[in-house]
């Protein structure tokens, strides 16, 4: 798939220093006056070099973001996984329609009859049902919601 190819070529674009940065900075970024300088020091980098590398990795989309990861449930909001069975011929058009909703935080194509899987993030719990109704109206397709009933483990850190 196109984006997989594009992403795997990025793999080569990350050098050893980039990987050390990604591994070291997946959490614990300092809340100090000059946090980049503080974070750069143990990596043996200057503040300017760290900033330049973060900028480059964001531009190349090796990083999707650099900043706080919010847990919307703690703010009274909701994250809900949802899926649709999209006819292949309409896939790209439907993906565009679904992605246009700001409530859609992530969206993945997967190999299954349920071939589109997305995460809805809303600030109020009732926002989920509302977003689902609007997505169903916009696409003419049923949305199956899979709210989590229990979280056993979440750890999004990966070794670079």
């Amino acid at each position: 798939m196109a984006s997989e190819r594009a992403a795997s070529s990025l793999d080569d674009a990350l050098d050893e220093t980039d990987r050390r940065i990604v591994n070291a900075l997946q959490g614990g970024f300092p809340l100090s006056d000059e946090p980049y300088r503080e974070a750069a020091e143990p990596l043996g980098l200057s503040e300017a070099e760290l900033l330049a590398r973060l900028k480059r990795m964001l531009d190349e989309r090796a990083l999707t973001r650099f900043g706080p990861m919010f847990q919307i449930e703690r703010m009274g909001g909701r994250f809900v996984l949802a899926a649709m069975q999209v006819p292949e011929a309409d896939f790209d058009r439907i993906a565009e329609t679904v992605n246009a909703f700001p409530e859609v935080a992530h969206n993945y194509r997967r190999e299954h009859a349920f071939n589109m899987w997305f995460v809805l993030a809303t600030e109020k719990p009732e926002g989920i049902a509302d977003a689902i109704a609007r997505i169903e109206a916009a696409t003419g397709l049923a949305v199956a919601a899979f709210p989590k009933e229990r979280e056993y483990f979440v750890e999004m850190k990966l070794d670079a």
Partner: protein
């Protein structure tokens, strides 16, 4: 619960921190509050779990984790919590949840995300999960992602 100022900080940082030497000063200037207050509020949101962590959010594809399998299992209700905790402790499982079945289309109630550098690696992980679930598991499947269609994360409206 976050208040109005916290909410402003969330809106200002949900796409990322400013990439400048003094990012909290930059945020403070934009929000019209002091940098000390920005830092104190971020620290409190970290303490309460409103912020999971602050740092780099990698694109796992770019790190070489190009095989991304959502493994799903139909596990006996009376054993799922015990087994879910066990599966969640496996090193290659990055997320593990209990979710509702959607019969007849969807019989699976345990979701375990397995990231690997190759599909073979993911399949190896799924075989281990299958074995641990044992007789409590009636069926399973692995849904590989073939395209990221969107990955922006949370966006609350200003």
């Amino acid at each position: 619960m976050p208040d109005g100022i916290d909410r402003k900080i969330i809106v200002a940082t949900q796409a990322g921190l400013p990439l400048v030497p003094r990012p909290y000063d930059a945020l403070a200037g934009r929000l019209g509050i002091g940098a000390e207050e920005v830092k104190a509020r971020l620290a409190r949101m970290l303490d309460t779990g409103t912020i999971r962590r602050i740092g780099a959010v990698p694109n796992h594809y770019a790190l070489g984790y190009t095989a991304n399998g959502m493994s799903v299992w139909d596990v006996a209700d009376e054993r799922i919590d015990e087994l879910g905790e066990m599966i969640g402790r496996l090193s290659f499982v990055t997320h593990c949840y209990r979710r509702p079945r959607r019969l007849p289309d969807w019989p699976y109630n345990l979701f375990a995300m397995v990231h690997g550098k190759t599909r073979t690696e993911v399949e190896g992980g799924c075989a281990i999960i299958r074995e641990l679930l044992g007789t409590a598991c009636r069926a399973g499947d692995v849904l590989y992602s073939t395209r990221i269609l969107k990955k922006t994360g949370l966006r609350i409206q200003d």
